[in-house]
């Protein structure tokens, strides 16, 4: 163990290929004889297919084959998480076919796939397919889809309800607490639907090798093994050992590339059918229609306070939109990843969430950066801030008063919430206090008063959050309905010369694993980072792993690698003891050397590696080789937390809102690479600010996405954001060997309510006492909030 790299902002190893244009994303791969697929999609949200005429398309030049619903409609992709109704019934799980035979259920539902010599010809031929649709009424709003008479998405799902669900204290207890409240703050709001918009559109190549009867799928995925398992076992019925799934460089995921998509199975099937590789790359327009969306909650929430300002109860009713079909983890997001976070940082004694999960004629909804946790934080932080305004108390003071006291999870026990989870460790007061210090709170209020004399108004918004990261342990998620385990694999192969190949089931699509993991390995073994290679993304090379999502890679995947490293050091010590003629207990491993304690007798790590593979002088009963694989299944989630503060400036004449300052104090446990952690926070902040001010998928009454391109769907650009002001506190995770908690989603979870709260603060400071401005808070919406009612 040395401390050369951990905690240092080591520059990223992977950067070289990306900055020189040598990254290798799926769409960059060209295989001999490759064909191109184009998918014909429904222009309607809900319609019955009366007839399809393929004749003209089939006759067109360059067409190799056309896959139809008749041919492959009996295959469908599964949902990975079962949630039961309150009454114990199993959730409704209608099929999600690879291609639709009879009825389309959202705009973009796939009807046929044309495979041709070039992508131009495939598209030309798809345009020649004639489909006669009977257009049916559609419903897109979850709270309306449950009403009597609403159009049904699936004929056998009454009221479009996939399931209803609750969590927390018994409803009656919460009602009683609320009845006793001195003040109740209530809020109706929409947590709008977002499109993830990883910059790389999804891309897949199916390849079938008839000599070895083996399939290869190249896919822009966050978890190659999971895709292989789902596709083999639950979709196509292929023998898993005959399928190789490769996730090469992936251009961002943010959740949207976790799921098993129909097109992965389609190109795989088609490649066998025609005996040639088949590539499909979506257009951005298709991405808007088919990449799983995020959020989309319609909520009524109430928070009760006693006369001293202590929170006494929290009562929530939410309709969560699942879209037309269940995506891989769509059912877990509004339930186990959302309801379980409603304790927040507060000591709220009574909590109840009543959740209804609903099908609509829209794109499937699943995890998007934060997944359920941003929705929980938004709800809590909006309520607390609004309550402070309504009660005329300071929003920071109100939070500090209600925070759970600090606990380290080692000498003090974890904190048991009312919503199932037990927090591992936390020090919530400190992040808010540090945030206030960075803001210069008193000065800000003076500045705000000054600004009121101009045509700009200023506002400050606070948000404090907690999230559950490092998604695992298996036994817990299994008992909650997950149909997969959630652990990670880490194999460390020491080569005879002492160089290291590490195989991880985690998958990097921007997170920098090749660097962070190498830092951990190099320090543990006391060797240079150049001697470590991190290998991921290929199911033929890496043992079964679970991939990257939910800020889990380092906490779970990194811990698996540490376990293997420990085994290597333990075995190395035995080899060293034999060679140095002492007991293994007397061997100490430090700075890359096995040393006999208290002496200068030592052997280098390289010597031991070579001995392990050239075992001429070697302990009896010890196998040769130095290569260990470990699976790490943690005992709990990890619980990062933090405080985000936004300062906004609103143009009184136009409602145009600019984020002037953004302060984030996050506690993500121990930090291996501060530069990378900061980068993760920055990116999350941009997406969270994006939700508050810019982003939102809009449907018209017929279920058409009316802003389905970058000409209308607004994401923050460079000139929409300020430089971020970051700081960190460190409360180590008590239950994993690295003490890390995860940083991928924090920025996105805390930032959205901070910005909304800042706008509301600005509006109240100017005398406009509105409760909410609907997100995205476009200039027009903010301007309207300032007009006399």
């Amino acid at each position: 163990m040395s401390n050369k790299f951990i905690g240092k902002s080591v520059k990223r190893i992977e950067d070289k290929r990306f900055i020189t244009g040598k990254g290798r994303y799926t769409d960059d791969i060209v295989l001999p004889g490759m064909t191109y697929a184009y998918i014909l999609r429904s222009p309607y949200a809900h319609a019955r297919i009366r007839s399809i005429d393929y004749s003209a398309a089939e006759a067109m030049q360059g067409v190799v084959t056309i896959m139809t619903g008749e041919e492959v409609g009996h295959y469908g992709v599964p949902c990975g998480w079962q949630v039961n109704f309150k009454n114990g019934d199993i959730m409704k799980e209608p099929p999600h076919p690879l291609l639709v035979k009879d009825k389309v259920r959202h705009v973009g539902d796939a009807v046929a796939m044309v495979v041709a010599e070039t992508r131009e010809l495939a598209q030309d031929a798809a345009e020649a397919i004639i489909i006669d649709y009977e257009v049916l009424p559609a419903v897109t709003d979850a709270s309306k889809a449950v009403l009597p008479g609403a159009p049904l998405v699936h004929d056998d799902v009454p009221n479009n309800i996939c399931f209803d669900w609750e969590i927390g204290n018994p409803k009656a207890e919460v009602d009683e607490a609320m009845a006793s409240a001195h003040h109740i703050t209530s809020l109706d709001f929409v947590n709008q639907r977002l499109s993830p918009n990883a910059m790389e559109p999804r891309s897949y190549i199916g390849q079938y090798d008839n000599v070895y009867d083996k399939y290869t799928l190249y896919t822009s995925t966050q978890n190659p093994h999971l895709i292989r398992l789902l596709m083999c076992a639950f979709v196509l019925g292929l023998p898993e050992h005959k399928v190789r799934v490769v996730g090469p460089d992936v251009g961002g995921g943010f959740g949207s590339k976790i799921y098993h998509y129909t097109e992965e199975a389609l190109v795989t099937l088609a490649s066998k059918k025609i005996g040639r590789p088949v590539k499909w790359t979506e257009t951005r327009s298709e991405a808007f229609q088919t990449d799983a969306h995020g959020r989309d909650h319609v909520t009524h929430a109430e928070m009760g306070f006693d006369a001293q300002g202590n929170i006494v109860g929290l009562r929530i009713k939410t309709f969560a939109n699942l879209g037309a079909y269940l995506s891989t983890f769509g059912t877990a997001v509004p339930t186990y990843l959302h309801g379980t976070l409603l304790q927040g940082l507060y000591t709220t004694p009574k909590i109840h969430l009543d959740m209804t999960c609903v099908f609509t004629h829209t794109t499937a909804v699943d995890a998007y950066r934060g997944a359920g946790r941003p929705e929980a934080t938004f709800l809590l932080e909006r309520l607390v801030d609004l309550a402070a305004l309504e009660m005329g108390v300071d929003p920071a003071e109100l939070r500090l008063k209600n925070f759970i006291p600090a606990f380290d999870g080692v000498t003090q026990p974890g904190y048991q919430t009312n919503v199932a989870l037990q927090y591992d460790s936390g020090n919530y007061h400190s992040v808010l206090e540090r945030g206030l210090e960075m803001l210069g709170y008193e000065n800000f209020r003076k500045e705000q008063a000054e600004a009121a004399k101009t045509n700009k108004i200023l506002g400050v918004g606070f948000s404090t959050y907690i999230e559950a990261c490092g998604i695992a342990p298996s036994a817990v998620v299994g008992s909650l309905g997950a149909r997969a385990g959630l652990y990670e694999v880490g194999q460390v192969r020491v080569q005879p010369t002492g160089k290291i190949s590490v195989f991880t089931g985690a998958h990097s699509h921007g997170q920098g694993h090749e660097t962070t993991f190498a830092q951990v390995v190099a320090d543990r073994l006391g060797i240079p980072m150049e001697d470590v290679d991190i290998i991921h993304g290929d199911s033929d090379t890496v043992a079964f792993g679970m991939g990257t999502y939910g800020s889990r890679s380092l906490a779970v995947g990194g811990s698996a690698i540490v376990k293997s490293l420990d085994k290597i050091i333990e075995k190395g010590a035995k080899i060293a003891a034999h060679k140095l003629e002492c007991s293994a207990d007397d061997i100490e491993f430090k700075d890359g050397k096995f040393t006999v304690k208290g002496t200068d007798k030592s052997l280098s790590f390289g010597d031991i590696a070579l001995t392990a593979y050239v075992p001429h002088v070697y302990p009896a009963n010890l196998e040769p080789g130095l290569d260990f694989s470990s699976f790490y299944d943690p005992t709990n989630f990890t619980y990062p937390f933090g405080c985000h503060i936004a300062v906004v400036e609103i143009d009184k004449e136009t409602g145009f809102t600019r984020v002037k300052r953004f302060i984030a104090v996050d506690d993500v446990g121990n930090v291996i690479n501060p530069m990378i952690v900061d980068g993760q926070i920055h990116g999350g902040l941009a997406q969270g600010i994006g939700q508050a001010l810019f982003e939102g998928v809009e449907f018209d009454e017929n279920g058409q996405i009316t802003n389905g391109s970058y000409m209308d769907y607004t994401m923050p650009r460079a000139d929409d954001l300020p430089m971020f002001e970051l700081d960190r506190q460190v409360t180590p995770c008590p239950h994993n060997p690295l003490g890390v908690k995860g940083a991928g989603e924090a920025g996105c979870i805390g930032s959205t309510p901070a910005v909304v709260n800042a706008v509301i603060d600005a509006l109240w400071s100017a005398g406009h006492k509105v409760k909410d401005v609907r997100m995205p808070m476009t200039p027009e919406r903010v301007w309207k909030a300032m007009q006399p009612a």
């Binding site: 145009f656 027009e780 301007w783 309207k784």
Partner: protein, 284 residues
């Protein structure tokens, strides 16, 4: 996204382009291509032939003549905002800098933009405010169309189907006159939700002439006579400007609406941006 099949040819002169256009009824002119090619990629438009006029040397120049600055139609937005002769026409520079982004400004052309006549494009408002003259050429020869007669409606112009825009003549700013362009952007596309170009002549502290033109507000860019007339004879103060600007986008006209701005909000923005553009032109 790939366009439908299309033939491509490059014209070497204006004459050749006009001849090709006459011979091919399904042809479209291609200058920078930054309106046409995106539309073709989405297959919103599938011409049979593209006639590339971007490299016609006689169309790409900026000249300082006695009465006017003359801009060749194939001059790019970037050519314009970096040109020394145009420094005096502030609205041109301010508008040009707000078009699209760096990459678009490097390819897109002034002629292409005005022939396309997007109702939210920036140039039309500026050309109206600056009283530009647009020279066009067709099989029957050349003619000059004043900007005020050029933009006839929604994506439509006074250009005949066989004609090409060749030059834009911008009268030189008179003594005491100045111009400005202010724009409220659609945040995703960066087109104007409301763009206002103002040109004002102040003599002895009194406004003697004014043009106020909008883009993004209605079917096409237009001169707002109501605002302009309310300014004439008034001293150039913020109060007078604000009062005049309150007349903006009134009267019988269609007001656009979309995700980003309802009709009421757009109308309100027109008044705010008229004020800001006028204040800019008056140096207030």
């Amino acid at each position: 996204m790939i366009p439908s099949s299309v033939d491509y040819t490059r014209a070497s002169s204006v004459g050749e382009a006009i001849r090709l256009l006459a011979e091919n009824p399904d042809a479209k002119l291609l200058a920078g291509g930054h309106s046409l090619i995106p539309a073709m990629k989405l297959r919103l438009n599938s011409p049979a032939l593209l006639i590339d006029i971007a490299r016609i040397a006689e169309l790409r120049f900026i000249e300082d003549t006695e009465n006017a600055i003359v801009i060749g139609a194939a001059s790019t937005h970037a050519d314009i905002i970096t040109n020394q002769y145009l420094k005096g026409l502030t609205a041109m520079i301010e508008a040009g800098e707000l078009i699209g982004d760096t990459q678009v400004r490097n390819m897109g052309t002034l002629g292409g933009s005005i022939a396309h006549a997007d109702p939210s494009a920036d140039w039309p408002a500026v050309l109206l405010a600056l009283e530009a003259q647009i020279k066009v050429q067709g099989a029957d020869g050349e003619r000059i169309i004043p900007a005020a007669e050029f933009f006839t409606g929604f994506f439509s112009t006074a250009l005949d189907s066989g004609e090409i825009v060749t030059e834009i003549h911008l009268p030189k700013a008179a003594v005491g006159s100045a111009s400005a362009y202010r724009k409220f952007m659609q945040p995703a596309s960066r087109f104007a939700i409301v763009g206002c170009a103002a040109s004002v002549t102040v003599e002895g502290g009194v406004i003697s002439a004014a043009n106020v033109a909008f883009t993004g507000v209605s079917d096409a860019a237009f001169l707002d006579e109501g605002v302009a007339s309310a300014l004439i004879g008034k001293s150039a103060t913020l109060e007078n400007i604000e009062a005049a600007a309150s007349a903006a986008a009134e009267g019988d006209m269609h007001i656009n609406e979309d995700h980003f701005a309802s009709q009421a909000y757009r109308k309100h923005l027109a008044k705010v941006y008229a004020k800001r553009a006028l204040a800019g032109a008056c140096g207030l």
